[in-house]
């Protein structure tokens, strides 16, 4: 995962905000993208209420629960989403953008470790990043689809806290559901 902390630019058409991660890295993000993180949005709006003079570029928003690598991924995903304030594109442009996004999403998921995916989900939940949460949760669901119980345990790092006889009982009871499940 590459760090995509942007170089500070002189104030452009869109306001920027600075986010600080748990490992003290600073990320400058466009307001439009940062607003997709509802936690950030809430913080920003609270700040605005308390101090009228403070604008996004001078306020640093701390995110103690998010590591820089994770935030980098979430930001780059957020940038690829259709912006809410964007001018409506014509149909063709929309289609190309959609295709680009799909390719980006596939590339993103291809090399993702289970631990990384869970980190991303956790962070997206903390940031209240709805689209990110939807996307990564779906990716997780897709991944464990049609896999055996052992695979799911290994993937999540779950400790099996069932006694052997309990587990046997469950397997028997639910035998009706199992047909053609692939092993890892």
């Amino acid at each position: 995962m590459s760090n995509t902390s942007e170089n500070p630019k002189p104030s452009s058409s869109s306001a920027k905000m600075t986010l600080k991660t748990s490992d003290n890295e600073l990320f400058e993000v466009e307001e439009a993208v940062a607003m997709k993180f509802c936690t950030v949005k809430q913080y920003f709006e609270d700040e605005k209420d308390s101090d009228v003079a403070a604008r996004g570029s001078t306020t640093v928003i701390p995110l103690p629960n998010v590591h820089s690598a994770v935030l980098a991924t979430l930001i780059s995903y957020g940038k690829k989403l259709p912006q809410s304030n964007a001018v409506a594109d014509n149909h063709e442009e929309e289609e190309t953008k959609k295709k680009e996004r799909k390719k980006y999403e596939q590339g993103l998921l291809k090399n993702l470790m289970p631990g990384e995916l869970l980190d991303l989900i956790s962070a997206a939940n903390y940031l209240d990043f709805k689209e990110g949460l939807e996307f990564f949760n779906q990716a997780l669901a897709d991944h464990i689809q049609n896999k055996s119980v052992e695979y799911v345990r290994k993937f999540f790092g779950i400790k099996n806290d069932y006694e052997p006889h309990e587990e046997e009982k469950y397997r028997e009871e639910y035998a009706w559901a199992f047909e053609g499940v692939d092993e890892d």
């Binding site: 631990g115 980190d119 956790s122 949760n137 779950i158 806290d161 069932y162 639910y174 559901a177 053609g180």
Partner: protein, 344 residues
Amino acid sequence: MRKKQKTTPPPPYSTNAEESDLFDGLPDDLVVFILCKVSSSASSPSDLISILFTCKRLNRLGVHPLVLSKASPKALAIRAKNWSESAHRFLRLCVNSGNIEASYTLGMIRFYCLQNRGSGASLMAKAAIKTHAPALYSLAVIQFNGSGGSKNDKNLKAGVALCARAAYLGHVDALRELGHCLQDGYGVRQNVAEGRRLLVQANTRELASVLRARSVSPDPGLNGSGCGLLSDFGCDVTEPETHPVNIFLKEWFGSGCDGSGLRMCSHVGCGRPETRPHEFRRCSVCGAVNYCSRGCQALDWKLRHKVECMPMERWLEENNGGDNGGVGGGDGGGGGGEEEGELN
């Protein structure tokens, strides 16, 4: 509302040794969210069920009403040969969580397979009230045939009303059924033009959904070889996908002949059995096949029956050396098989 939350943030990109902490670090509501996604995109029951005995926590969260209510139709696609009390319990659990697909599925199974007409119908009604199109259509078929009761329990007007609501939702079989009812003035004032329009609409919708499915999966042989659907018009299109519960019914009733002499609908994708002798209509040309509804009859004609339908008299003649040639039988397309309107 978070039920459980760890105060320390999980270490970033953990190694294998620390993975067990990672899962524990996810709060319950987040796990439920993930499980909802698993259940709504499950392609078979095992996807969802295998979650239930991974560990105690997932067992508890996996049967959360929110997760079960989102279970996809395929997650509830139980095979008839695997039917058991446990499967029955699971479906009931899903019904109670508000899953209308489960209501419909269990309703059909109870009505036809377990012969519990009242409970089955009320479960289907529960789904129908929530505008579940297949449930509305199935209830219509029951009304048209007076299934579960006598011949006098047929209620054509009710059938048409239910069909109309399903058709309004775009249900292809219902559109077809309603189209035929209008053409024949069956349960509703005759309106041939309107009936024809609906039949065309049914065809178009069916074609559209098949094309859509095809564009998703480029393999042309996915649903078996192209069959007779729309073959009247020179189009080679595969059959539409059947609902899991129809597959269940089909398997349950096996070859279609049991001791009681009750027949099954001859349309391959239907699976409905008669609930009393001579309940279903049969092909007036050959008399060898039976259908629960006009819709099934029309579809089966195009898919299969058209080629094999032969009037009884003609068959007898040919076996007698054809000494009486030319008598009997409708021309191709007439008789038992109803013709659909042409696609423009």
